[in-house]
Each structure stands twice: as C-alpha cells, then as structure tokens.
Amino acid sequence: MNGILKREALVKWAPLIVLLVLILLFTVLEPRFFSVRNLARIAISSTPALMVALGVTFIIIMGSIDLSMEGTVSVTAVVFAFAFLALGGTVLSWAWLALPLAILVGAVVGFINGLVHVKLRIPSFMASLAMGFVGTGFALLLTGGDRIRVEDEVFRGLLTERWLGFPVMVYVAALFLLIGWFIQAKTTLGRNFYAVGGGEELAHASGLNVNRVRILGFTLAGMFYAVGALMAVGRIGIAETATGNNFMFMSITSVVVGGTALWGGIGGVWNTLVGVLIVNVIGNGMVVIGLPGYVQDAVLGLLVIVAVVLSTDRKSISFVK
C-alpha cells in the first residue's frame, strides 16, 4: 500500500519538480534566462501551445487521442482571417464577430471529428489523424497557398500591449486555463471525461452515454484549438496553411510530459500547464545557452517516451499496438 502511495505521489509531483529543476539549471548556466524579458518570451511561445494542449487534455483524459489539431488550427486561423478582413478588418468594427465565428468553426470541426470516431467506430488516433489531413487540405484549398495578413492594431494588441511586462495574450490564456479548469472540476461533463477514461465499460454500465461524452469532448477540444489558432495569428499576424504546423507533436508531448497518462483517467489542466511550460522552457533554454534550435525535436521525442514509460503501470497492461 505504501509503495503504491509513493508511486502515485512521485508521478503526481514529478513534472513540477522537473520544471523547477530545469528553470534552476538554465538560470545557473545563463542568468539572463530568468529575466522578465525572457520569461515573457517563454510565456508568448507557450500561449498558443497551451490552448491547443488544453483541448487535447480532455481527450487524453478520456483515454482517446486527438491528432487533428494541426488541421483544425489551420482551418480556424484561415477562416478567421478571411472573415475578419471581409467584415472590416478591425476589432472595433463588425469584424469582432470573426472571433466567435472562429471558435464556432473549431467546434464544428471537432464535432465532425467526434462523429467520425464514434459513429464509424474508427480508433480516435486514426480518425483524428485523417481529419487533420482533411483540415490542412481544406485550409490549403481556401488560401490556395497564400498567406493572409491580419494587421489590425487592436487585434495585434494581444502581443504588443503589455501589462507588467507580459503581453495581453498571456492573460487571455490564463483566463481560458481557468475556464478549462472549471469545465474539468466543476461540471458534469468534466467528471464524465474522467469516468470514461477510468473505465469505459463501468461508465457505460452505470448509465452514462459514453458516445455523447466522447463527441462533446472532441467538440470542446476543437473550440480550444480555435482559441489556440487565434493566439497564433495574434502572435505573428499571419494566417496560412502552415499556421498549424508543429502543434501536434508539441501539444501531445506537453500533455504527456505534464503527467496526464495516455491510458486515461489521470491528470488534468494543471498538469498540462506544467507540461507546456517544461516543453517551452527546454526550447527557450537550449537557445539561450547557445544550443542549436533543431535539437529540440529530438529532446522532445526522448522526453515523451520517458514520460509515457513513467506514467505506465506496467502490471496493468499486457500489450500495446
């Protein structure tokens, strides 16, 4: 009993300890790492990733996986940019409607994703991977390969306007983090995610409409991807087919490294916050201490494997595919 408790405690706190050790390590190697300027830089790069990772957190808690984020982010970014420019091109006009529209588009893509997975009974990793390809393809079709510039100063204020050294987008992200926490901890839907992840047959036997929870989960994830897309556009001022690039690897790594188990039922939004920060601290820290940026993908690859191995209770599963 004591052994199990220790293991659980270790798994629970390990990500936070890793994050603190990393921050300490980089600060010792290069004191400039811990300046407000650099921390703001980390926060900015973490913001879109955090939104996307929050979305997929709910899916992973259910024991499923969503690999559609790259396509969803690209589609919502492109649709948002087109609608924004068509409606006036500044938040102060009717163009603000493009913001909720983008989130609606994200919800629709996520909903279709969930339908394909649940109704056609296709494993979620493949259903969502295919949907991601469709999404990227659709974004390409809409743009024809062009970049769309969003130069409205009010919208770009997400990045340029700073409070206490940090841009507005960081505070907006914090708000959505709280919304994510609220859904996870204070709503029936959030508890149902854990019920499905903890044991689907049990959840089903106790009268839960598992399919409905799954579809709602994917819809919710799509909405968070859309918020991530808005942040990404706000950050660089451009929407294009490539807006979604790298989000898949980044967000899955973040969620897993944060301590949410791929098997479902364990973890949550705070784990994801820690995970996203670990990933971005490593990415930023390696550059700050002078390592080339491309080492990042290799380090993240190793990290995700270590994280999955550590979070797996090897006695409870016999084989994996």
Binding site: G63, I65, G144, I305, V309
Partner: protein, 313 residues
C-alpha cells in the same frame, strides 16, 4: 454473393473502375508511355507504403516513415561524395536502426506505436536538420550518375525505378508468404494474445516489422533523393498521408492480420490513378490533400475489423 465475399476483391475492382473512368474521359491516359511514367513516379511512395504495410499488418502504425525518408535524403546527399555507392548502405542501416528503436520502444517500453514512432520521427527530423545544416542540398551530377545512375535510368523503355520497386516487392512477398517470419507476422496480426500463448516470440516479430518499415522508408527516401538529385529535411513531406492511404485502400485494415504487400501495390496504384485523374479532370491540386484525407476515412471505415475492437478508443 455477400458483401464479405466481395470485400477482398474490392481493391483491384476499384483500380480497374478508376482506370476505366479516367481512360474513358481521356484516352491519352491509357497510352503505355503515360501509364509507365505514372507508375515510375509513384515508386518512392510505393516503397514507403510497402514498409508501412508491415507496421499496419501487426496492428500498429509507423508515423516516423516520412521523417526517416527525409533523413535519408539528407544522409544520401551528404554521404555521396565520400562513400559513393556505400551511401546506400548507410541509408538502409539508418532506416533499419530507427525502425528497430521504434519497435523496441513499442514492445518493451509499452508505448503505443503512434506515440513511439511520432517521437522517433522527431529524433530523425532533428538529425536531418543537423546533418543538412538546415539547408536544401544538391548532389553533384557526375557523382550521382556514377553511383546511383542505375536507379533512374531506362531499359527497354521501362524506367529503372519500376525494377527497384519490383525487386523489393518480390523480396517482401517472399518474406510474407514463404518464410516462418511471414507466418508469425500473420499470427501476430490475427491475434496477438493467441500468438503469445502459442509460444511465438511476439516481441521479436514486432520489432522486425517496425525495422522493415524503417528500412523501406529509408530506401524510399534514397530513391527519391536520387530522382530529385538532392536532399533536405523536408524533401519527402507529403508522403505520409498517401502512404497510409495506399496501405488501407489496398485492403490491409488498421486492425491488421489480412491484406499484405500485393494489396499495397494495388492501393498505391489507386493513389496514383486518383492523382493523375485530378490532372485530367482539371481539379485544383490544392484539393488533393483534402480528397485523400476523406478517402482515408472511408477506407478505414470500410476495412476495419470491428470484432477485434471491443472498445473503440
């Protein structure tokens, strides 16, 4: 005649119907010269799909194939001046090694293959960027022709790529149908627990399946880089989706156990015909990815063996 009895024959029927439709719309499509060049162009993709078949056959997936192919385009280009034709050996060994690592992580460390291969793909991508100095590289024309000219030449009017693909297909067909490894592969694909219970070394078989997938992805990258006479960390981007589509459309389901390398040949040809049909019907090239994504969903839905999935996660 129930649907289940027609099902195994659907891939080649689909292929014939598609060829008939495109040929009917534009008879130029059916000219031997056109068909041959279409098949030659699809060969790098076919070789990658051939490897992917093994990963899917055992019920897994290899998402690192594209990154491994990217990496070998760089390795081939970088190693060519010093190693000559031996550069090919380096490429093949590298692919084999990356595949084995994926297999090891999946079977021994119990990390699902879509995550393990995604992670290994990340490592391959980093390595490719390191080796290439994050640039697109070009092969020296004389060096290329000296060492690898045989890959892309022509004999009797048939491009050599087709021979390369054909030889690999025959080798893999032999492996699949005439060796104990092939039998064991089928056993693992049909039911992993039963295979374990009957004393098969399932771990070794699965590691070998991923190793084959990595090796063939590497050969695909090598052939592609010789064709284009260069390498870059993103050269083979866009291969992953059609490679998975080729395997699934050919009739090897995501749940594994049935299908095989010949199915993948048919699947790849279907992909090739669809691609050229878009040209003939003047469908915008930007539509392509979306179309293949939708075909992928349809193919999975039609082929997947739902009796093997008690819970669909």
């Amino acid at each position: 005649m129930s649907l289940d009895r027609i099902k195994p024959h659907l891939p080649w029927i689909t292929l014939l119907v598609l060829v008939a439709i495109v040929g009917g719309a534009d008879s130029n499509f059916l000219k031997p010269h056109n068909l041959i060049s279409m098949v030659a162009d699809i060969m790098p993709l076919f070789i990658m799909a051939l490897g992917m078949t093994f990963a899917i056959y055992i019920g897994g997936i290899d998402l690192s194939a594209q990154s491994v192919a990217n990496m070998t385009t760089v390795i081939a280009t970088v190693a060519l001046p010093t190693l000559g034709i031996s550069a090919a050996v380096v490429c093949v060994v590298a692919g084999l090694a990356f595949g084995m690592v994926s297999g090891f992580i999946t079977t021994r460390l119990l990390v699902p293959s879509f995550v393990s291969t995604l992670a290994v793909g990340g490592v391959a991508y980093s390595l490719a960027q390191y080796l290439s100095g994050q640039r697109a590289l070009y092969m020296d024309a004389t060096l290329r022709d000296g060492s690898f000219g045989w890959m892309v030449g022509k004999s009797f009017g048939i491009p050599h790529e087709i021979f390369v693909g054909g030889v690999l297909l025959l080798a893999m067909l032999f492996l699949q149908t005439r060796t104990t490894f092939g039998r064991a592969l089928k056993a693992v694909g049909a039911g992993e627990l039963a295979a374990v219970a009957s004393g098969l070394n399932v771990t070794r078989i699965k590691v070998m399946a991923f190793a084959l997938s990595g090796m063939l992805a590497a050969i695909a990258g090598l052939l592609f880089s010789v064709k284009l006479s260069g390498g870059s960390p993103t050269l083979a981007n866009g291969f992953l989706l059609p490679a998975i589509v080729a395997v699934l459309v050919g009739g090897t389901p995501l749940t594994g156990g049935v299908g095989g390398v010949v199915n993948t040949l048919i699947g790849t040809l279907i992909v090739a015909v669809i691609r050229s049909s878009m040209l003939y019907f003047e469908i915008d090239a930007t539509m392509q990815q979306m179309v293949f994504g939708i075909i992928l969903i349809a193919a999975i839905a039609m082929t997947i063996d739902r009796s093997k999935l008690r819970i669909v996660k």
